[in-house]
Structure formats: structure tokens, C-alpha cells
């Protein structure tokens, strides 16, 4: 399914064009094609190497002993593999605590966004009411407003509510609509589900919102998965908002905690020293693994979400 586009490959190689006749001619054409194909795969391989190399070096450095990170020519695997870089790094700051914080925020945002965006999307996909088109335009127009334009007033609002240094500013807003893009994505999906299901449920006595909860949501798992994955990515990578709202170390998200740790010298080897590049690469690896693994295993949801985002464009 994820491979919808891979047309029967290599077909052109097997069947040279029958016109023009002459075995010699055909062979020459096939030869040119083979050469073209070889160059194509060479280009793809070189590109892949260039794009993957930084990640490979990151992981490789994270396992090297100190002092080996800058050796040249570089070695992929040093003589000894040093897991210690990881342990050293996460002993120097509340690693597990900040991981837990990040996950708490992720779970909160997921809950808010999935509930709220699907409710809003359902209203626009299924219900008829005066003002529907105008309101849907309003939803779409909020996509035009960059988050950073409302950052200052939102900050002041949460400050007045006494929410600074808590997760509330990072979670609560997502319970109120869930974001225009996700509303749009879910609405598109709901509209592909035949209304017959709604009607059948209504005859059985289900109310408007029971239809959403009991009929549409269970049928929309792929779309909900797309929303959940995109949300994980954005929350895991979020930096500016946690930086502004969280001030105490025990509240830091993983990204903020790593940044803080990397900047401040730590006690080690009898003196205050900045973290080694090995340790920094270890933490960069830790930050990178969840989104990359998630991407590996959920590509088809990614593609679905990206394609829908393109439709609106």
C-alpha cells in the first residue's frame, strides 16, 4: 500500500521498443538504456550516501571514546565501543525526568488534539447549519496566522493565569479546536465514509455525537493515526514554546534539558568541563531515534497526511 507508485519496474529493460527493427540497432538502444539506468542508480546511491552520512557519523561518534571523534580519516567504528557516553550524559542531568516530561506533554496534546479536531471536523463534514461555509473559511484562515505572532499575548495570558512553569500552556490550547490542518485532514477523511452508516445508527437511536464516537471514529483509525504521528513529531521537536514557558529544571522537556546540559559545564574529571562531543552526539542520537523509528514504521500514514496537506495547497 505504501508503495502505490512503484510501477512494474525494469519493464523498459526487458522489452526494447519493437519498432525500427534490426538486432544491432536494438542492442545499441538497450545498451544506452542500461547505461542510463546505471547512471541513475549511481546518482541515487551517491545522494543516499550524502544524506545518510551525517546520521551515521552521529551514531558512530556517540559510541567512540573521547578524543576519537575528530580523528582523520574517520573510522566508522572505533577500536572500542563506548556505551559510557550515554550513561555519562544522562547522569549529568535529570534525563529520565525530562523524558517523562516530554512524554507527558505529548500524551496531553495527543488527547486534546484527537478529541477536539475530530469533533470540529465532524461538525463540518456531516452537519448542515447556517454559517457553515463562513466558519469553515475561518478555520482555514487560522492556518495563515503564524504561531509566533500570537506568542507574546498568549504568554502574557498564561502568565496571568499563573500557568508559567507548568505544562498547561503547552497542552491546554490543543483542546480547543486542535489546529486547522488537523481539522481539515480529518474532515476530508470523514467525508469519504458513506452517510449510510450514520443513518443506520440514527435509526437505532444514536444521537449526533454518539454517531461520531461510535461509528465514525472507529472507522477513521488511519486518519487518526496520521494526526497522532504528526503530533508526536511536532511536540517531540518543539523548542521555542517549552523554552519560554518552562523555567525550572524538573519541568524541562528533553530538548530543553539537553540544551541546558550542553551549555553549562559539568563536574567531571576533577574540574568543571563542558560535555564532550561524544556525549553530545549520544544525546543527539537519543533525540533522533524516536522520530526516525516512528517514520520508518508509519510511512504510509505520513504519505497520507502529506498528500492531504498538498491538496489544500
Amino acid at each position: 500500500m505504501s508503495d502505490s507508485g512503484s510501477a512494474p519496474s525494469g519493464g523498459a529493460l526487458v522489452q526494447p521498443p519493437p519498432q525500427m527493427g534490426g538486432a544491432w540497432m536494438r542492442r545499441q538502444q538497450t545498451g544506452q538504456r542500461l547505461l542510463g539506468r546505471a547512471l541513475l542508480y549511481l546518482a541515487l546511491a551517491v545522494l543516499t550516501l550524502i544524506l545518510v552520512a551525517p546520521l551515521v557519523w552521529m551514531v558512530s561518534a556517540s559510541f567512540k571514546p573521547e578524543g576519537y571523534v575528530f580523528e582523520y580519516p574517520p573510522r566508522l567504528i572505533a577500536e572500542q565501543i563506548q556505551w559510557w557516553n550515554y550513561v555519562e550524559a544522562w547522569n549529568q542531568f535529570p534525563f529520565w525526568r525530562s523524558l517523562l516530561n516530554t512524554m507527558t506533554i505529548v500524551v496531553g496534546v495527543e488527547a486534546g488534539r484527537l478529541l477536539s479536531a475530530s469533533l470540529t471536523a465532524y461538525v463540518f463534514a456531516r452537519l448542515r447549519f447556517p454559517g457553515r461555509n463562513a466558519l469553515f473559511l475561518l478555520v482555514l484562515s487560522t492556518m495563515m496566522i503564524p504561531y509566533h505572532v500570537v506568542l507574546i499575548p498568549q504568554y502574557l495570558l498564561f502568565r496571568n493565569l499563573g500557568w508559567l512553569d507548568s505544562f498547561n500552556p503547552l497542552i491546554v490550547p490543543h483542546f480547543f479546536g486542535g489546529g486547522a490542518f488537523f481539522i481539515f485532514l480529518l474532515r476530508q477523511f470523514f467525508m469519504t465514509i458513506p452517510r449510510d452508516y450514520d443513518d443506520a445508527a440514527r435509526i437505532d437511536g444514536a444521537g449526533t455525537f454518539a454517531i461520531l464516537w461510535r461509528i465514525l471514529l472507529p472507522m477513521s483509525k488511519p486518519a487518526l493515526a496520521t494526526v497522532a504521528i504528526f503530533t508526536f513529531m511536532s511536540e517531540w521537536n518543539d523548542f521555542l514554546a517549552p523554552l519560554i514557558y518552562l523555567n525550572s529544571q524538573e519541568k524541562y522537556t528533553l530538548a530543553i534539558a539537553i540544551r541546558q546540559w550542553q551549555q553549562v559545564a559539568v563536574w567531571g574529571a576533577g574540574a568543571y568541563v563542558p560535555p564532550t562531543w561524544n556525549a553530545i552526539m549520544a544525546m543527539a542520537t537519543v533525540l533522533t531515534i524516536p522520530p526516525v523509528v516512528l517514520f520508518f514504521f508509519t510511512q504510509r500514514y505520513f504519505i497520507q497526511g502529506v498528500v492531504i496537506s498538498g491538496i489544500k495547497g
Binding site: 470540529t120 478555520v139 503564524p146 500570537v150 523548542f239 552526539m281 526516525v292 517514520f295 502529506v306
Partner: protein, 301 residues
Amino acid sequence: MFWKRSLSLQARETRDAYIGLLPFLLGFVIFTAGPLIYSFYLSFTRYDILSAPRWSGFENYARMASGDDTLWQSLRVTVIYTLVAVPVHVIVGYAMALLLNLKVKGLSFWRTAFYMPAVVPAMAVAYVFSWMLQSDVGLINQSLRAIGLPGPKWFGDPNWVLAAFILMSAWAVGGTLLLYLSALQGVPTELYDASKVDGANAWRRFLNVTLPMTSPVIFFVFLTGMIGTFQVFTVAFVTTNGGPGEASLFYLLYLYRTGWEYLQMGYAAAMAWLLFVILLVITLLSLRLSRTTVFYEGAQE
């Protein structure tokens, strides 16, 4: 009566609709519209958070227009970065998608490899590149030296620091790939066949069929790219924090400093509004441009 009953059904549907929309509408007022208006008000005040905002008229805007070189520097940095990084994404990404659209074997493998850098968190990207681009001992400069080229100081040189940022952004060029591939695969094969019958060669087929049919997505990548590059923050904050000097002081970095380090919330609000207006103008101009350059199949809504 039948009509009366259906009327009450409609009334109930309307009621349910507005109940369902309540969270969104509240959120819109509290977290979007309200803040937008309030930040407009703040942009006409002096506000240090500690004491109440004081009305200062057009002072902030006057300062932006004339007195603040740092603001213009941050705009310059952001615009230069945008002018290089966005075309790289639009064109190189498209070229990659064209390669992958040549019926290659193992499409999903290549696609995964090309797209992967785009899902790496900005902070990890920042760390990996500031390590690889170390001026003396970094991997890239050591390699350059090995082939006899002097490596620049990258993050340490005001003339090269933006090149380092563009390199980081170019690394994630595969992020455009999924969108481009789905557009390329959406081009109907009949069009290619018809074009072949007319005797068009591969290059003409690309110009007359592929390019126009995929132009909406090219446009989309261009527009979202511009909006994205104007909001660069994390990589700059983590690597250079604006330096050396102010050579990589991206707009949002300066806004953050103004608001949260210098505690000039009024001025920061004015900066936020300027950002909003810039993005709005970019969007509207691009939409206007797209009317003449972008081909929308069945373009009647």
C-alpha cells in the same frame, strides 16, 4: 406536520453543530483572535512585563523604521537565507522526485533514505552540523583539506555562517519529496501518450506536461518553504545564537531576545506584527503570481 417536524430536526442539527464547534470557537477567541488584537494594542505601548503597558503611540514602529539597525540586520539575514534555501528546496527536491519517478527499483528504500533527514529534530541537526563543521578538526574541513582546499570557518566566520545554515537546510531537502512524488504520480499517463504521439521528445514532454501538471505542488512547496524559513529559530539558537556578531541573527531569534531577554514586550509585539504582515504580503503576492503561472486542472472550485 411533516414540514414542522423537519424544521425542528434542522434546528436540532444547528444546535448540535454549534455545541460541537464550541471548543473551536472558544479557542479561536481566546488563543488566536484575542491575542492577535491584544498584540496589535501592545505594539503601540512600552511594556516590560513588570509594570503595566504604557501607551507610546507609534514609537515602536518609528524605531523599527529608522533607529534599529539590528532589526534590519535580522531581516537581511532572514531574507538572504530564504532566497537561497527556498529555491534549493523547490528545485533540488523536484529533481530528486523526478529521478525517483523514473520507475526505479526499490522506490520505497530510496524514498525513505531521502526523506529521513527531514524527520530529524532541529536540535540534533544543529549539534551534528556544528560538530561536522568545526573549523579545524571538523569532518568536512578535514576532508576539504585532504583534497587541498582551505575549509572556511563556517559558524565562526560572519561571511560563511549563513552558508552553514543553508547547508543544514539543504540536507533536509527530501522533506519535499513525498509531496512531489504524489504530484508526479498523479499526472495522467494519457497526457504523456498523447504527447508522444505528437512526436514530443522527453524534454518537451517534461516542459509541456509534467511541469504544468505539477505546478500547483511546486507552488505549495515554495510558499510553505518561505513561511518556514521566516520562522527559523531552533537551529540558530542552538548553534550560533545569532553570532558571530549579528551575522546569523534570524528574525525570530531577535524577537525572542527583545521580548524575553530585554523585556521589551511592546517592541517585540510590533516585530511580531511586522512578521505577520511580511508573511501575509508574501502569501498574497504568491497567490497573485500563481494565477498566471500555475495550472489548476478543472479550476472552477
